[in-house]
Point group: C2
Chain length 214, copies 2
Amino acid sequence: MGASLGEGERRKTAGSALARQQILRPGEASGRVIVLRQGWALRSAITSDGRRQVLSILLPGDIAGGEFLMRDKVRVPVQSLTPVEYCSFDVTYLKEIAGENPAFIWTFVDLCLSSKEASEARLIDLGRRNAEQRLARLILDLHRRLREKGLSNGATIPFPLRQQTVADALGLTQVHVSRVIRSLRQSRILQIRSGQLTILDMDALMATAEFYET
Amino acid sequence: MGASLGEGERRKTAGSALARQQILRPGEASGRVIVLRQGWALRSAITSDGRRQVLSILLPGDIAGGEFLMRDKVRVPVQSLTPVEYCSFDVTYLKEIAGENPAFIWTFVDLCLSSKEASEARLIDLGRRNAEQRLARLILDLHRRLREKGLSNGATIPFPLRQQTVADALGLTQVHVSRVIRSLRQSRILQIRSGQLTILDMDALMATAEFYET
DNA sequence: GCGTGTTTATAACGTAAGTTAAAAACTGAT
DNA sequence: ATCAGTTTTTAACTTACGTTATAAACACGC
């Protein structure tokens, strides 16, 4: 991406990164909205005492850096979890498009509402559900999203998350996540092997998740 | 609001309610965005086992029912906490305005991003902070918002929340909220009397909240 | 295959927060 | 002022999850 690139080429660019790379750093002002094409990524926050809270897990098709639409600095760091490919769009370019085609903006409102709903659902999990329910719901959520994106059809999904990452998403410790996974494994509800998670007993998983209500 | 009202009058309507009334019921399809004018209200969810999680506390000027912009059903119930006054706008009317003045839509994107940021901040609280920190941060958040709205200037703010409500917001029990409040009271950090909360030692409160980082 | 670093498993123990219960303090209506 | 209903306080006891530590299982470069 040298200085010789024309305006046009900067509007949409492609990128990639290895696993565990910072893609957006807080404070940075990239001014670009990123759409993940391949791989998994994380939006997370670090508290002052060094603990981490994962805010959302990004799958192919998901958006990062949406705050640039109205803000000028990155608020939430984004990092790759697996090797990733993504494309990024200049915000001023997106706003130009929106200026010509106002209906386009409603897409952003929709995306924004959806991600707000998702984070409020997580809020309910952390506030009012125990560790087993939280894990079951995380797995069912990933399973549903991967299925919707055509990245999984059966009961098996890719699962590149370390236990520490799961813990940071669920507000637990790695040790306790290990305990809960063992419990679900021993109940023949699920199985995790070589980066793949298999749901052995969907009914039981949904029962522990209390999945009937949002 | 009889059937004889003309179209024009339905676009913007005023309303009021006593304390503890349901203003928006889940499943309902009111198609109206509500702006709170006076009083406090709550957006909350009930889990299948009957526990409650408060998703946000609405102060005068805040918006409820924003999901109607893109959805057709109420997802999150809203109830008044004190007597309230509000006005409501028909969503199709808002979209008309937006059609004539596209920049207006960006306002919604902005509002939506802000409330998403707020709920992600709460997510960090519930996932990674203890009861004392959560309460301190809730109080500082309310203090800041009331100050910004000109509804409080000094160290005293109106505080119409029951301990059970605070508990439902922080993912705790009422009993534990009582314990934490006692601890802060005994440390001469704050005082709650007749619906008013006074911050006696702001530095100490900010220290317990670890307020320097978001 | 071997060594190094990372991740997971398990155990023993600690604690913040939950549960239950009962008394005390409010609140508002009459 | 009195009463009924609600909210808060406090205490005793329980528990889900955290902490610390160590061993086992993986992963991967040479």
